[in-house]
């Protein structure tokens, strides 16, 4: 019987008069409340009860009996989980402070009143930062499972919890999925507090909110909703909190799981939330009025609402100079379109619309296809499938091997397939260009959607040529038009022609971004004053003034 089930059974878990578990108790057992459980008076009983909860063979559950150095007749029990706590903290602030104090006696004799005794220990014997007294054993267990240590004192029926968290974790490193040439090199880690600190370090405003909750009956994962009071639309924040609160699951170990629970249309291939491992990108989103979600144990934070153009933006867009950043962004849209339609376009033309091509090109395609025994669509599907297999296997390999695998696999496979007469060289080129284009999409989740949708488009193109491809594109756009993220239309920025060349298809200079994007309905739309680059305007005015004077003199 697992620990939490025992807790549920011991804590409450009532059955109805007919012996069946009532709906209420079912909800209680899956929900947050385990009920209260009194702490036994005797240390032996406490130890026995903890053992009954955790089992006899849990080697990481540590229960250490202590006698206070000030008064050896006061017995205590230190209870913590090894690995979740910092050994040095336990030794220094727990064991050493309790058993080897160097100061004189606190008071003599120690108070008999349990409450006073606990208060005295907290104020004089435990030099830890966060300390609290608790009289509910279930709560003690819950806290100890998050890395705190508990000290039970005989006959007090209370436990003193003190902060001792300290587990092995990855340090802040470089982002692995959102690499940039220019800009910060920090990425989120699996530790919630490290991540919140990374955000706080970039947004030093008291309006920044980290609204915490727990998700997962068994995992009890800490989830933090991040927003800026005064900028983020409160309705969006409430919507996110409501959706998170409605999650009823055992384990929510990653932001991806939370995302699937709370997104508007889980069946859509397109992501409706941005995920990022870059604190700078996360902070930029939050400061635009998005709602962020940071999940403990996940190095990827979520941001919502999202829309299609946000997935074609890279963090680097705002670190490079705008002419290059804007051009690269436009290129990414072209790449996205190529990745989606190029093979289908080729199949449509090669199968149904050869008359479109100049004679020399049509002959070259026909010539290259002479030795291939399959129709163009089979050829295309084979190559696409091979490309997907190479890509998938390269992802699973260790980094250096994976990269080599990708290149060598693609080269060898393409060359071998052409030599064997299974595919035409032109098809290899088409698939290679498609692969490159799909790598240019900055967000992996959108790249996945594009890869998935390429296959139905291929089939439509092979059946009904360019008209099938058009029909497929219309279906995709219709789908995107009906899609929402937290109720915000997915294509919204694309349909506002005024913003298209500001921060959608192109990126205008940063000082032109006076207003925040409108789609998250920020409470405060102005993000920049109008005095930016005033000096440049002043200089221009002076020059024009001087020119005017010269002309008058002349």
């Amino acid at each position: 019987m697992s620990l939490l089930r025992k807790l549920m059974v011991l804590g409450r878990g009532r059955r109805g008069a007919d012996g069946k578990r009532s709906r209420r108790s079912e909800e209680t057992s899956r929900g947050s409340g385990l009920g209260e459980r009194e702490i036994p008076a005797r240390i032996d009983s406490i130890e026995a009860e903890i053992k009954s909860l955790f089992g006899e063979r849990n080697s990481d559950v540590i229960m250490r009996r202590v006698d206070l150095w000030t008064c050896p007749e006061v017995h205590g029990l230190l209870f913590y989980i090894e690995g979740l706590t910092d050994r040095a903290t336990i030794n220094a602030f727990g064991l050493e402070a309790l058993m080897h104090g160097e100061r004189g006696p606190v008071t003599s004799p120690l108070p008999r009143d349990p409450k006073l005794l606990v208060e005295l220990i907290i104020s004089h014997l435990l030099p830890a930062g966060q300390v609290s007294a608790v009289d509910d054993l279930n709560k003690v267990v819950e806290k100890v499972l998050t890395g705190e240590a508990a000290l039970f004192i005989q006959d007090t029926r209370q436990a003193i919890l003190f902060e001792a968290k300290g587990w092995e974790h990855r340090t802040v490193g470089e982002p692995s999925t959102e690499k940039t040439l220019r800009g910060p090199r920090e990425s989120f880690t699996e530790v919630l507090r490290t991540n919140t600190a990374l955000v706080r370090r970039r947004l030093k405003t008291p309006d920044l909110r980290f609204d915490g909750t727990r998700v997962g009956v068994r995992s009890k994962t800490d989830v933090v909703v991040v927003y800026i009071e005064g900028i983020t639309d409160p309705q969006l924040v409430e919507e996110v909190k409501m959706r998170i609160a409605s999650i009823d699951t055992d384990i929510a170990g990653d932001s991806g799981i939370i995302e699937e629970f709370i997104e508007d249309s889980p069946a859509s291939p397109f992501p409706q939330m941005q995920y990022t491992e870059r604190p700078d990108r996360f902070c930029a989103g939050i400061s635009e009025g998005l709602v962020g979600i940071i999940v403990d144990t996940s190095p990827f934070a979520l941001m919502a609402p999202a829309n299609l153009p946000t997935f074609f933006q890279s963090a680097e867009d705002f670190y490079d100079r705008f002419p290059f950043a804007g051009t690269l962004r436009s290129l990414r849209y072209v790449a996205g379109l190529l990745a989606l339609t190029f093979p289908a376009f080729y199949v449509a033309i090669a199968t149904h619309h050869q008359e479109m091509l100049p004679t020399s090109l049509a002959l070259a395609i026909a010539g290259s296809h002479l030795s291939v025994p399959f129709p163009t669509i089979v050829e295309a599907l084979l190559m696409e499938l091979a490309l997907e297999l190479i890509r998938e296997s390269a992802v699973r390999m260790p980094d250096p091997v994976g990269q080599t695998m990708g290149f060598v696999g693609a080269l060898l496979l393409g060359d071998a397939a052409v030599s064997a007469g299974l595919v035409s060289p032109i098809m290899v080129i088409v698939v290679a260009v498609t692969g490159l284009a799909s790598f240019s999409i900055p967000h992996y989740s959108v790249s996945l959607a594009v890869r998935l949708l390429r296959f139905p488009l291929l089939l439509l193109a092979s059946w009904t040529g360019l008209f099938g491809l058009t029909a497929g594109l219309v279906a995709i756009v219709l789908h995107l038009s009906g899609l929402t993220s937290l109720g915000v239309p997915y294509l919204q920025p694309l349909l506002h022609t005024g913003d298209l060349f500001k921060d959608v298809l192109w990126r205008a200079p940063v000082f032109k971004h006076r207003l925040r994007p409108g789609f998250p309905r920020p409470q405060d739309r102005v993000r920049q004053g109008s005095s930016n680059r005033q000096w440049a305007r002043d200089d221009q005015d002076k020059e024009e003034g001087a020119d005017g004077e010269n002309r008058v003199r002349e």
Binding site: L473, V477, L478, P489
Partner: protein, 370 residues
Amino acid sequence: MARTGSENDHIRTGQFAVLVAEIVFSTGFMAVGSVIATISESAAWLGTLLGAAGGLIVAWLCGTLVRLYPGMNLPAIADTVLPKALSKLASLSFAAYCTWLLGIGSRQFIIAIWIPFLESTSPLTLALVASAIIAYGASLGIEAIARASMVFFPIALLSIVVLAGLSVPVAHPARLLPIIGAGLPELGLTALITSAYGTECIVGLAFVSHLNEPSRAGRSMSWGVLVGMTLMSAVLAVATMLLGSQGVARVMFPAVEAARLVGPGEFLERSEVLLLAIWFSVGLLKQAAVFHATTVSIADALGLRTRTPVFIPLIVASVILSLYPTTVVSVLHSLKLFQRYTPWYALALPALLLTASALRPVPAEGRRRE
């Protein structure tokens, strides 16, 4: 009242105007010339432009109706102002009109695509693919269709500009002379015939309940009619300059034939397939909007709570209607019937509703749907 896709659908007046322009323009422009060029010859394009007047009258009537009954669509207005039996008849006749539009539009596209470009593909496959996309769009609701139209309609508009631009080296502007063609009576007749396309804007009455500013429905509809008919006229003018009025009268799809004569140069020969594919995209969206209007009208007339039961029969009908009639002559005949009769229906329906509204005034509080 049947659920119309999503009850929460909202469309802006700009989107509504684009939607109306798409409905007016997207399918009719391909074949309109072949019918009217025999009547008014070189003035076919002018007749088409004048045909916008019929659409503008319908738009005005519809706008007045929407101002009187904001938040209601055609079946709801009919329910409010007409006796029950007559109201059902109005809704069902509107559904029949929309089904006719659906059939005639789909059939034209299937013929335009199948014979010159996809002879090796079964027309049934084409019809199935098109009907699936149309039904999918209709199931998503009018808001999704309106947004998708905002993406594809500008592309179609651009394609017309490109067609006009590419035609400059090979066009003969003198073929547009004499400006009144065969004469004023013929020009008038042409305007009357082409008003069938302008009056298609009545389909918009099925979506007006989703408008964020109902008071501007009439103006948006008028803009849609004007843009749609102007585009249609422009395409016909280009076709006339390229093919001559006799050439336009000889072919079924003058727009496609005109596109065949122009090309961007050596790289893409026969680029008309690209233009036709672009026009096909807006055609599909128009058909989705019409499909949506049909399902709403039928569901409301039959008192169904959802549109779902109407979907499958209508998809089957849409597939069948896109495959028949089988000969080009019969298709042209059905087109002529459409041009002759539907403008009167489109004028009569809102006029009837307005008259009924005037004769049987309803209390102000009854005019607003919850």
